[in-house]
Symmetry: C2
Subunit: 324 residues, 2 copies
Amino acid sequence: MATLIDVAERAGVSVTTVSRMLNNRVPISPATRESIIKAMEDLDYQPNELARSLFKKNSLMIGLIIASANNYFFCKIIDSVEHYVTKHGYKLLLCLSNNKKQNEIAYFNMLKANQVAGVILASNTQNLERYLSFNAPLVTFDRMLSPHIPSVSSDNYNGGVLAAKHLLEKGCKRPAYVMDTRRMGMHANYRYDGFADTFKKSGIDLVVHAAPLDSFITMSYEDTIREFFQTHPEIDCVFTSNDIIAAQILRYCARQGISVPGQLKVIGYDDIDMASFTSPSLTTIRQPVDDLCRYAVESLINFKERNIASMTLFPVSLIEREST
Amino acid sequence: MATLIDVAERAGVSVTTVSRMLNNRVPISPATRESIIKAMEDLDYQPNELARSLFKKNSLMIGLIIASANNYFFCKIIDSVEHYVTKHGYKLLLCLSNNKKQNEIAYFNMLKANQVAGVILASNTQNLERYLSFNAPLVTFDRMLSPHIPSVSSDNYNGGVLAAKHLLEKGCKRPAYVMDTRRMGMHANYRYDGFADTFKKSGIDLVVHAAPLDSFITMSYEDTIREFFQTHPEIDCVFTSNDIIAAQILRYCARQGISVPGQLKVIGYDDIDMASFTSPSLTTIRQPVDDLCRYAVESLINFKERNIASMTLFPVSLIEREST
DNA sequence: ATCGGCATGACAAGGGGTTGACATCGATAC
DNA sequence: GTATCGATGTCAACCCCTTGTCATGCCGAT
């Protein structure tokens, strides 16, 4: 690969001049500028980002640690984060942890070793914070690691409330909540709280059914759903902690001849694309994923002081489709 | 961040010794080794990968250029590629091009500037090769860029053959192929060829319907499907160029009261997870995506000579489910 | 006492680029 | 004619780590 020296020689100027031009540090005469540009093109020159970052003590890379790319909701996050990272001239280092603590720690150390400009942590097992030393800005997505680390998430509690109100309006009396295993620090836990609180205000208790840990990584909820229907044939509506569970419930119903929304109303969470592909299409709580991702990325990039620790919630909305 | 110098000072040895230990260049006495390890732990030291890579003239990064992470098939690729990249001690730089040539070129240059160890190109518009200068190993995924660049893909022609044979066995007489827009160099074009050739041998012609360019990025095929059914009400089976189209056809049929597989048999391509979520579940041609990705990653890592240009095809299989 | 081998140290150069200090030189202004 | 300014050059230090060369000191073998 051509280096700065090659470019300078070919353009007949000094290395300093080329470097200064590339970094906009000083006015350059049109003639010089042009000959440098010509030389760069001739040589197909790309400044070595490694050398640059080494000197500047930061690379224009942002790390995203997330459990898997096999889950449709996570894909949306990856897609959106990549978009904003690139838009701001950064690059995305993607780290898929499978939700395992040792992987998360290893990735985190790797990202530090690569001097990343920031890390978005959208995967974690509990008690991770003591392993992380914070020299790069860090923001967590959908979870709270510690009060000192900013987190972004949708307004999960309200999501639960909206779902419950909607089902109450539709006349449901025997609700259920089917969810991924509750894990400490997850904002998603508030979905349940909002949902349960709202039903309780109407004097209605609900059934809760949880999938095994980490089902969401591979999106395999079939056993959970079968089990759920076998143990709770009486329920008349179900709210799920994500659209994937809901979609699989719809499929289960189709096979078992349970009519939706006639016999059972189903409402999901997230509003992934798949929610509108199912049949019947899925009523769901929409998270503004794109906004969340943008905020996460931009808060890393604009990070100044470590003291702006906080929690940022984005509003959710109910999208009514055919399943309720 | 702590540097090598800090570690050496704290361990009471020379920088040279620490570096040599880290790089396994020389035997180190147990006592020294231990005090260095202790110092590294105390200081939470991570060797600066940038400096390391700069000296070694390569970084342990691999770039994946792909159109989007919003498409379920691409997600599988991303997931799998990340897995193998990490397994071999490399890191993944994810680049989402939206299938736009200028983005691809920009990403490619960025990857070169970051001295990546290799690039997997799974996105491209036509005639890209003249923009790429090859100092890093490159492998294309599902497309052929030029005879000099190795490509990996599934055996698409055979996939088409399998689909056609299966439908013929089921007694279909009026087949259709619904696909993404044909683009030059895509291996997926052979799906059509295999499918059409096989039906032609039985004296049967087929209807072809194509979605607008780039529909696959957002997976929006609704208009295409409506149009297709309006113009071709007579068909009795349909093969699609991917499972997402097929899933949306199933949904269309559910809404329109077209019974599957009774009135219409549907067969997809890829075997993404969603294929088993639909109702009825989807018969499809399975690609061994994980094998493809592993091969792509490992062929980059083991790359030695530029002269092993070739095309590598992986076998496909028909997964029969409920839709046929 | 001598020699060889082992573990380590000291030193310098190098990877590619950035930056500050200071010098140079031609052109413009007065 | 001199002061000024703008564009560029020269030089050295620096970012952090790696590596080759040569030196040193210690230990065990002879």
